[in-house]
Amino acid sequence: MAEKVTFKVFRFNPEKDKKPYYQDFEVEIRKPGMMVLDGLNQIRWEMDGTLAFRRSCREGVCGSDGLNINGVNMLSCITHISDLKPPIVIQPLPSLPVVKDLVVDLTDFMNKFFLVKPYLITYSPPPDKERLQTPEERKKLDGLYECILCACCSTSCPSYWADPEYLGPSALLNSARFILDSRDEGADERFEIINDRHGVWRCHTILNCIEACPKLLNPTEAIGELKKILIKKKF
């Protein structure tokens, strides 16, 4: 008989349930390398079609399926079932309002992203050809531009939980993505927003975000970089 693994899944249907509960499902391991998302699909397709979660690319680049799995935030599509200790406890990302089951409301997370002006700002007219950028200048964007807006980092951060106005690691990392771009001319506008007690100074280097980021990015370091620039500007 095929091996089975218990998934303990957070359930909440606002149309029916007064409060959330956990439901156990026995997921059958049918091939080596099965991901948590494969297990969730098996549950939805074969056991209980009412289970709700988000998914799209199934290869860790679209950021739809950030979940809290055995207590740590990660993407279900690139997390091997065999790497987890059963029973596998699956919850929605912490601290955000739950829409249904594993689906959370990302409005607050996205609004904070919008706040930091996450787009290239330029005032000088562009040349006819591309703006030049040396490979060294471009390298400064590595570790920043790969962010997939999965919210794993921000929702793992105690400061983000405690301070409803804190921009959070993801928005701050995304502001660094542009501030450190040699082509960008909007650093001052952005610093006005992030140089604030709900901005970079709210980060107390708890480091949860680094562990949570499925793209192996380092928001704490990015925030540190921004703090350094701000301190330099002061003197």
């Binding site: 149309e15 988000r54 799209s56 690319c57 679209c62 040396t134």
Partner: protein, 591 residues
């Protein structure tokens, strides 16, 4: 559940889809008229995010290049089924559209001199096929991610209105115009009717109908089914691209960029077999050629592994530093999905369903067009399409790598601009028809209320397996006829499908079942088009008709959906005349 309430929204333009094509269109349109985007997912979750290798443009940053060579490669790659006016337009627009994207902030990789980095890619050559050329503009191997984020950022900057997590259910028509679209709010439940002057579809591809696929879960070809249901045709659906290098067992893509950077394929004897199939460019031949060569090797017992059912892709001879710098995403994918450190061992790969060459028929302005062998093409007022869901046709029977990201930018932009012109010429919205959206609303109600005995997944499983077996890299009259019957049967079973979830809030069961209904519908068009086309051209390979037949088949297939659910096929000529240069006459294709 009470579901009769329909909220009405009025915009000049609604764009359905927020991948590269939809976002580029939104940018072009939102500056001029009241524009909104409707998308099943948050824009950056769209499938464009997965594109890896790059986007083609003759920037000549590494070596001299010419749009005419690009055009030649694209026409040849299309196995001469591409429309040469649209292809000329595409290739000439490419440099400008890439520079524009750079100005928007796209984080391209860079050359030492600070210009955009370019690499080689399959089918792209200099001097009309002489040797491979560096034409693919890349952001490492995360080009699609960088692109969709850049476009989304610019949309935010320009204040574009988004209806995210809304699922389009029906195209609305009246007085010969497309007048809007009906959608379902996935998060809260409920119907929304978008009344427009112009509607642009950018709903992407569909290879979720195959078991082994590079495509995202959401790539279910909704736009095609909605188009067919509204009475419009879809074009050339039998041309489905199988990418040579999907990870064995899962299908995830290993970009051609790997071969562009020097990787190559070997069979179980360690032989670089591609030299036998494509003596000039070997592993950088176009995709249909490489996929077929791999399938041939496997067929003849030269596949690798205990079952002899895969090929090995070698990169371990390359400098590990180069791999980590230029192909970091590939390294990650191979490691996570195949347990292989590709700096040390080869990656097991198989051909995998990847891309839809066919789609909603358009001209080179992104206008959806009707036409036939003896009536010239004419636009459908108010209806536009761009990107993978559309068929301009720049890819013909086989798409070259990096030409899709280019296609979505060029035709997204042009389609958006054309829609704006149309809106400005139309003083008032054409009124909605009576009972607008009734069919879409009834469909949802029927599914939610159904008490049948069929499960969605069982039908989808069979669809995936049988499409792969009977309508894959190789096809014959026998397999296609069999598949036609299977589809009839699956459609019958689908009528009895029952949902577990009867609720309104985030009902994924409902969405996936709607998607399955769409897939069954256009799969019929794929299979019937393939059955009728008794030749081999590009990605459509008939074992029983292995030659290309220009005399009878140098024409586009159009598939219509009859009221009784059957497919009616029609045809229209290939637009062989380019805009300014002489026609590239059909020739035998060798690489």
């Amino acid at each position: 559940m009470a579901m009769d309430k329909v909220e009405i929204h009025k915009h000049d333009i609604v764009i359905v889809g927020a991948g590269g094509a939809g976002l580029r269109a939104a940018l072009a349109a939102s500056k001029e008229v009241n524009t909104a985007v409707v998308s099943e997912v948050l824009p950056t979750r769209s499938h464009t995010v997965s594109a890896q290798g790059g986007v083609a443009a003759t920037l000549s940053n590494v070596e001299p290049d010419d749009w005419l060579w690009h055009m030649y490669d694209t026409v040849k790659g299309s196995d001469y089924l591409g429309d040469q006016d649209a292809i000329e337009f595409l290739c000439r627009m490419a440099p400008e559209i890439i520079i524009e994207l750079e100005h928007m902030g796209m984080p391209f990789s860079r050359l030492e001199n600070g210009k955009i980095y370019q690499r080689r890619f399959g089918g792209h050559t200099k001097e009309f096929g002489k040797e491979a050329v560096c034409r693919s503009c890349a952001a490492a191997d995360r080009t699609g991610h960088a692109m969709v984020h850049t476009l989304y950022e610019q949309c935010l900057k320009n204040g574009v209105t988004f209806y995210n997590e809304f699922f389009a259910l029906q195209i609305l028509t009246n007085e010969g115009h497309v007048v809007g679209v009906l959608a379902w709010d996935i998060v809260n439940g409920g119907f929304h009717l978008f009344h427009t002057k112009a509607t642009l579809f950018a709903t992407g591809g569909y290879t979720r109908i195959y078991r082994t696929t590079t495509n995202a879960h959401i790539n279910t070809g909704d736009g095609l089914a909605l188009t067919m249901r509204a009475g419009f045709p879809v074009e050339d659906l039998e041309f489905v691209q199988f990418h040579p290098t999907g990870i064995y067992g899962v299908g995830n893509l290993i970009s051609e960029a790997v071969r562009g950077e020097g990787g190559y394929l070997v069979n179980k004897d360690g032989e670089r077999f591609m030299k036998r199939y494509a003596p000039t460019v070997w592993d950088l031949a176009s995709r249909d050629v490489v996929s077929r060569a791999m399938a041939e090797e496997i067929r003849h017992g030269r596949g690798c592994g205990p079952k002899g059912d895969y090929i090995l892709l070698k990169v371990d001879h390359l400098d590990p530093e180069l791999i980590h710098e230029r192909l970091p995403g590939i390294w990650e994918l191979a490691y996570v999905f195949a347990h292989v450190d590709c700096t040390k061992e080869p990656i097991p790969v198989v051909p995998t369903a990847h891309y839809s060459m066919g789609g909603i028929p358009t001209n080179l302005h992104g206008e959806v067009v009707l036409g036939s062998m003896d009536s010239p093409e004419s636009p459908v007022p108010g209806f536009y399409a761009a990107g993978e869901c559309a068929c301009a046709s720049v890819h013909g029977a086989n798409r070259l790598g990096t030409n899709s990201l280019l296609d979505i930018l060029v035709f997204g932009k042009v389609g958006g601009e054309k829609a704006v012109e149309f809106c400005q010429s139309l003083p008032e919205h054409v009124p909605l028809p009576e009972n607008a959206g009734k069919e879409g609303i009834d469909e949802v109600k029927r599914l939610v209320d159904s008490t049948g005995d069929e499960k969605m997944d069982a039908i989808w499983e069979e669809l995936r397996d049988t499409m792969e077996a009977n309508c894959g890299v190789f096809r014959t009259e026998e397999t296609l006829s069999k598949q036609k019957k299977i589809l009839e049967n699956l459609c019958e079973r689908f009528k009895r499908v029952r949902l577990d979830d009867k609720g309104k809030v985030f009902n994924l069961d409902l969405i996936e079942t709607l998607e399955l209904g769409h897939m069954l519908e256009f799969s019929k068009a794929i299979v019937e088009g393939a059955l009728a086309r008794t030749e081999s051209r590009g990605a459509h390979y008939r074992d029983d008709f292995p030659e290309r037949d220009d005399k009878n088949w140098l024409k586009h297939t159009l598939a219509y959906l009859n009221e009784d659910g059957r497919i009616r096929l029609d045809y229209k000529p290939v637009r062989l005349k380019p805009l300014t240069v002489p026609t590239f006459e059909p020739k035998e294709r060798v690489y």
